[in-house]
Symmetry: C2
Amino acid sequence: MKHVLTELVVLAVRDAHLEALLVRLPGNRWALPGGPVPDGAAIEEAARAALAEQTGVRGMVLEQLYSFDRDGGHGVCVAHIALVAADRHPVAPGPGVVEVRWFGVEEAALPALDADASEVLSYGLARIRAKAAYAPIAVHLLPEEFTLGELQTAYEAVLGHPLDPRNFRRDVLAGGVVEYSGAVRAEGPGRPARLYRSVKGDFQVSARERRIARAIGAG
Amino acid sequence: MKHVLTELVVLAVRDAHLEALLVRLPGNRWALPGGPVPDGAAIEEAARAALAEQTGVRGMVLEQLYSFDRDGGHGVCVAHIALVAADRHPVAPGPGVVEVRWFGVEEAALPALDADASEVLSYGLARIRAKAAYAPIAVHLLPEEFTLGELQTAYEAVLGHPLDPRNFRRDVLAGGVVEYSGAVRAEGPGRPARLYRSVKGDFQVSARERRIARAIGAG
DNA sequence: TCAAAAGTGTTTCTCTTACACCCATGT
DNA sequence: ACATGGGTGTAAGAGAAACACTTTTGA
């Protein structure tokens, strides 16, 4: 018997930067959100519940990352990664939490974290970057309707390098992962942008789509 | 508090087929090898120990797959995948095990398995196939020295489709993941094959190597 | 000398990349 | 009218895929 807990790497793109959500615990210690998985509870549900309680964030895409030994073999930490559209998720500290805040994921922007949390965070970042190169993940980082410019910005934030707009548009549209919603949005000066939404349904990772997705990440 | 256990998808290439190692428990039930992770023990060590005890297989490459809820939320199963060189691992049933046997991974070749085990097995197969397309995994499925023909056969068994020998040799050798051992091996009629061994060391997944590795899997 | 497996280069085509200008709107 | 972001096509280079024959051995 061991105690089982979850930790979450919660990521969003805010202001063209990839940011992670951290919680400040009493004693000025910053940590990843998370909590125990009670006996009888499902792991993923417990992760969602812990995140909702500690930070107010709920209803996002959640993926299991890895399970780590903790507490000298007396515990197990099942790490998850969550992708959220930052605007749709106002944060509020829950019980036991002093503060909830977004931090840029660059080393310099992060507060001090213990070694375990750093490991989980690195693992999560590696996973999302690897996955961005072949899967249409960025749609999870955006509101329901978005412009291709916003989608490109999200990819650029995750990947950490700029993409060519013409190639990006060609490949995204060819991949069929987004569809034109029919609406446009004018915001300040400049030509109004068409709004797209992500196409529901599982994406078989066909050879063709893998290729296209790779292209998305390869700019 | 939950009980934590491991299950292992143990894979080998035997006779040009990808096969999985299963154990028969009393009552004629076939199952994946595995066992409890005792309080205080590390997950991966427990997985190795369980596999060694139940089947006699030890010292192979082990990778964590996923953690599943079990027993109505009262347990957690941390699934692993193991790649072994079949010839180097004679199997022998341990305590509590009636029989240990290799089965082809095709649906038709497998015995009846419970739903949980089937799910873990499918997950393991998906993982190894995905990984074969970009990482030099097949070397783990072969003895220390092997011919390029054997390596190609191993890849073909994992991927489930034939590869072009010229492209395969070119890409494998260009990738630098194997080196010529200097020896050759004559076996029956036909020109003797050069023996290769895998090059130690971590393979940074450089753009170049990713490309090459992709080539390996893309035939 | 025949059967069997190992080993070797080149060509074609597709995909990826790089690149510059016009369009529609707000101010 | 101009500043701002949105939207579009093409050409050159790189990588992947397809392809057939010669070599070396055992029988």
